[in-house]
C-alpha cells in the first residue's frame, strides 16, 4: 500500500467523529464492547480529571465506553484512591494473573488489561495528559467502529487541519525523529507514515491484541506497530489527529534510556521476523556520562526489555475469554 494513499484513507482528524450519537448508534448496531485502560504509576495530579471526563462524557452522556479501568503499578501516591473516588475500577497490576509474577513497566499493565477487561476493543490512554478531553477516546475508537478492516488506531498530535497553511514539519517527538523514523526508513518504510509512532494513546481490537507479544518497557509501542504491520499490513493501521496533548516534558538523559530500550526491542523484533539474522548477544547496559570536578564519570544503567508472550498463549486467558 502506498504511503500517499494510506495517508488519504487511514489518517483521520478527531473532528470527523464529532457526532457521538451516530457513533454510539453504530457501536450498538455492531454490538461492540469497548474498554478503556489507563495504566498508572504515581499520577495523582491528573488521574481524577481523566476519570471524570471519560465517565461523564463517554459513559453517562454518550454510552460509548462499557468500562473504565485503572491498572496501577504500586503507586506510592494517592492515584488509586483518587481514581476509585471518581468511580473507576482500580486494579493493582500484581493482582492480575498473579501466577505469572510481577514485572515493572507500563507494557505489563497493558498486557494484563487484555486479561482483566472484557472489551472487543481496548483503548489505552496515558494518565499524564493535562488537557484531557473525550476526543482522546472517541477519536481513536471511531475508525474501528466505522471501518471493520482497521485493527489498530494510533494517536498523533498536531494543529487543527483546517488552520494549517504552507509546509511544516509533521512534529514527531525527539526519539521519533532521531531513532524511530530512521529505523523504520531502513527496515519498514511504510511505517514511517505514522506521524507519532510512540504516542501512548491507541485503540486495538482484542482479536489482534491477544496475538502479539508485549515488551513491558519502552519498546511496547514500537513492537506493536511492527507486529500488527507484519500480521495485517499497513491497511489495518490508522492514525487520528487529536490536535494537542499537554504533558510533562522529559529530560534528554531520560530520552536516552527510552531510546536504548526501544532499540533493544526493535532489534529483537527484526531478528524474530527474520529481517536480520544472527545478532550477537546484546548488552543491556546503557552507559551515560557525567562530569564531576572536571572528571568524567560513567553511569551504567541496566535496562532490560523483558517481553510477555501473546496473551492467547496464557491458559487462564483462553478460559476466561472463551477463545481458542
Amino acid at each position: 500500500m502506498l504511503i500517499d494513499s494510506w495517508l488519504g484513507t487511514n489518517t483521520f482528524h478527531h473532528s470527523e467523529f464529532w457526532d457521538l450519537n451516530a457513533l454510539v448508534k453504530e457501536k450498538e448496531k455492531r454490538q461492540i464492547k469497548i474498554s478503556l485502560c489507563i495504566p498508572t504509576l504515581n499520577e495523582e495530579k491528573t488521574i481524577g480529571k481523566e476519570i471524570v471526563i471519560f465517565s461523564s462524557e463517554l459513559m453517562q452522556r454518550y454510552p460509548l465506553l462499557d468500562e473504565i479501568a485503572v491498572i496501577d503499578s504500586d503507586s506510592s501516591d494517592q492515584t488509586r484512591e483518587i481514581a476509585a473516588s471518581f468511580g473507576a475500577q482500580v486494579f493493582q497490576s500484581r493482582d492480575i494473573l498473579p501466577a505469572y509474577g510481577e514485572k515493572r513497566g507500563k507494557g505489563e499493565n497493558l498486557w494484563k488489561a487484555i486479561y482483566q477487561l472484557d472489551g472487543d476493543i481496548l483503548v489505552y490512554i496515558d494518565a499524564d495528559i493535562k488537557n484531557i478531553h473525550p476526543r482522546f477516546v472517541y477519536g481513536l475508537v471511531a475508525p474501528l467502529i466505522y471501518r471493520p478492516e482497521i485493527q489498530y488506531v494510533k494517536a498523533f498530535y498536531d494543529r487543527p487541519l483546517a488552520s494549517s497553511q504552507g509546509t511544516r514539519p509533521s512534529g514527531g517527538g525527539r526519539v521519533t525523529e532521531i531513532l524511530i523514523r530512521p529505523l523504520f526508513s531502513l527496515f519498514f518504510p511504510e511505517l514511517t507514515a505514522l506521524i507519532q509512532p510512540l504516542s501512548g494513546e491507541y485503540a486495538v481490537r482484542r482479536r489482534v491484541l491477544d496475538k502479539i507479544p508485549f515488551p513491558i518497557g519502552y519498546g511496547v509501542e514500537t513492537s506493536h506497530l511492527i507486529d500488527v504491520y507484519h500480521r495485517c499490513g499497513l491497511e489495518a493501521i490508522a492514525q487520528t489527529d487529536l490536535d494537542r496533548r499537554v504533558h510533562r516534558n522529559q529530560h534528554t538523559r531520560d530520552l536516552g534510556k527510552m531510546a536504548f530500550g526501544i532499540l533493544q526491542t526493535f532489534l529483537k523484533r527484526v531478528e524474530a521476523l527474520g529481517i536480520v539474522g544472527n545478532l550477537p548477544e546484546l548488552s543491556t547496559t546503557l552507559r551515560q556520562f557525567q562530569v564531576s570536578n572536571n572528571v568524567f564519570e560513567e553511569i551504567p544503567l541496566n535496562i532490560v526489555e523483558e517481553e510477555r508472550p501473546p496473551m492467547i498463549e496464557i491458559p487462564e486467558y483462553t478460559k476466561k475469554h472463551k477463545v481458542s
Partner: protein
C-alpha cells in the same frame, strides 16, 4: 436515590414550607450529577474566555444546550449563549444567568487540576463553576424529576467584567422578546452570597502619560508613577460619609517599563462604590477636579476614563424573593451574607426585574492562577438554586 419522590413534590404546590422540607433530599439526590457537573466545570474552565473573547466558550455552552434538548439554543449577536427549557404553562420566564468571561488572558495556562475535595485553576470559581451549574441545570432537573411550570431561560452572558460592563445581559434584556419575570445570577463562589440590591458604582481608569522628552526640572515631576502617586494622595484625602456607605476601591496599578528608565505611563484602575447616587456623583466630581489640578501642576497628560456606571437599587429585604432565598439558605445551613452587588443584578434593576445573585460553593484565591473551589459544598449550592427556582416557579416570590 436519584430523584425526589412525587409525594414530596406534590407538597411543594401548597407552600414554601413544602419546598423547604424537600431541600435536604434534593441535596442528597443532586450528588448523582457530580461527574456531569465536574466534567462541565473542567471543560468550560479550560477554554480561555477573557472579556470580549468568549466565543469558544460560548460555542461549547451552545453545544451543551443542544445536547440537553433545549429550545432555541443559540448565540445572539453580542455572543451570549442562550437556551430555553419550556415550562408546562410558560406563564413566567425565569432567567438563570452566569457570566462566561474571566479576568485571565488567553495566554494563561487554563489547565484545571481535580482533587477529590477541590478543583483548582484560573477562573474555576469565577465563573467556570457558575457556568457549569447553569449548563447542568436541565440534567439536574431531569435527575430530580422536576418539571417547572415556568419557562427556564438559561444564559451564558458575554462581556460582563471590566470594560464589558454587563453588555451581554443588558443587550439581551433590552432586545429580547421574552419578558423576564425573575432573574437569578449564578456565581461560583462564595456559597452564602445573597445579593438582591445593587450599590451605585463608577468604574474607570486614570491614565497618566508624560512625553519622552520631558522637562524633569519642573515641579513634582519625576515621571508618570510619581505623578500618579500624587493623584492617589489627593484621592485619599476625599472625605467619605459614613452614611450612606461609600468607598473608593483602588483595584490595580500599572506603570513603567523596567528598573532604570523613568516611567512615561501609569494606569490606575478604580471603582467608586456608594449607596447614594448623589454621593457617587460628588466623589466623581472631586476626582475629576484632582486630576485637573495635578495635571496643571505637573504638565503630565492625565485622563479620567469612566467606562461603567451603575445606579443603586434592587428589591428590599422584605421582598418575597429575598425572604424565600434566606429561608432556603437557612434550611440548608448556609449562613447568608448579604452583599450589595455590582454584578448582573444592576442590569436586572435597570429593567425593574426582581433578581438575586447567589454563590455555589466555598473557595479561595479568587482571580489567582491557583483559584480553588471545594467540591462537597457544591451540592448544597445546587440544592439552594433548585429551591429558589421552585419557590419562584410556584409563585412564592411574587410581590403583592
Amino acid at each position: 436515590m436519584a430523584d425526589v419522590s412525587s409525594d414530596q413534590q406534590s407538597r411543594t404546590e401548597d407552600s414554601l414550607e413544602g419546598i423547604l422540607t424537600m431541600l435536604p433530599f434534593v441535596r442528597e439526590a443532586v450528588q448523582a450529577a457530580r461527574e456531569i457537573l465536574l466534567a462541565n466545570l473542567i471543560m468550560i474552565g479550560e477554554i480561555p474566555a477573557p472579556t470580549f473573547e468568549e466565543n469558544q466558550r460560548v460555542e461549547f455552552i451552545q453545544n451543551r444546550f443542544v445536547e440537553s434538548g433545549m429550545h432555541n439554543a443559540s448565540a445572539d449577536e453580542l455572543g451570549n449563549a442562550l437556551g430555553i427549557l419550556p415550562g408546562t404553562s410558560g406563564e413566567r420566564n425565569i432567567l438563570v444567568v452566569a457570566h462566561v468571561d474571566t479576568v485571565h488572558a488567553a495566554t494563561v495556562d487554563h489547565t484545571i487540576t481535580l482533587k477529590p475535595q477541590a478543583a483548582i485553576g484560573p477562573g474555576v470559581g469565577d465563573n467556570a463553576l457558575g457556568v457549569a451549574v447553569m449548563v447542568s441545570l436541565p440534567f439536574v432537573l431531569e435527575l430530580l424529576n422536576i418539571e417547572l411550570s415556568s419557562n427556564l431561560v438559561l444564559m451564558g452572558a458575554s462581556r460582563s467584567l471590566g470594560r464589558g460592563d454587563l453588555e451581554g445581559l443588558r443587550f439581551f434584556l433590552s432586545n429580547s422578546e421574552i419578558p423576564i419575570s425573575v432573574g437569578i445570577g449564578v456565581e461560583g463562589f462564595p456559597l452564602g452570597r445573597l445579593s438582591y440590591s445593587s450599590i451605585g458604582m463608577y468604574r474607570g481608569e486614570i491614565v497618566c502619560s508624560v512625553p519622552e522628552e520631558y522637562d524633569w526640572t519642573r515641579f513634582g515631576a519625576t515621571g508618570a508613577i510619581l505623578t500618579m502617586n500624587e493623584v492617589i494622595n489627593h484621592i485619599q484625602e476625599i472625605r467619605l460619609p459614613r452614611r450612606p456607605r461609600s468607598s473608593i476601591v483602588l483595584g490595580s496599578i500599572m506603570g513603567g517599563q523596567g528598573y532604570n528608565t523613568i516611567a512615561t505611563n501609569a494606569v490606575l484602575r478604580f471603582e467608586i462604590r456608594t449607596e447614594s447616587e448623589q454621593i457617587g456623583d460628588e466623589i466623581f466630581r472631586q476626582m475629576a477636579a484632582i486630576i485637573s489640578e495635578v495635571s496643571s501642576q505637573t504638565g503630565a497628560d492625565i485622563n479620567l476614563d469612566v467606562f461603567a456606571r451603575r445606579s443603586p437599587g434592587g428589591i428590599t429585604f422584605h421582598h418575597p424573593l429575598a425572604q424565600a432565598a434566606r429561608r432556603i439558605m437557612h434550611v440548608l445551613d448556609i449562613q447568608p451574607r448579604k452583599s450589595p452587588s455590582t454584578s448582573e443584578l444592576s442590569a436586572f434593576i435597570d429593567h425593574d426585574i426582581p433578581a438575586v445573585t447567589i454563590g455555589i460553593t466555598y473557595g479561595e484565591h479568587q482571580n489567582a492562577p491557583q483559584e480553588e473551589v471545594r467540591i462537597e459544598p457544591i451540592f448544597t449550592g445546587l440544592a439552594q438554586l433548585v429551591g429558589i427556582l421552585l419557590a419562584i416557579d410556584k409563585g412564592f416570590c411574587d410581590a403583592d
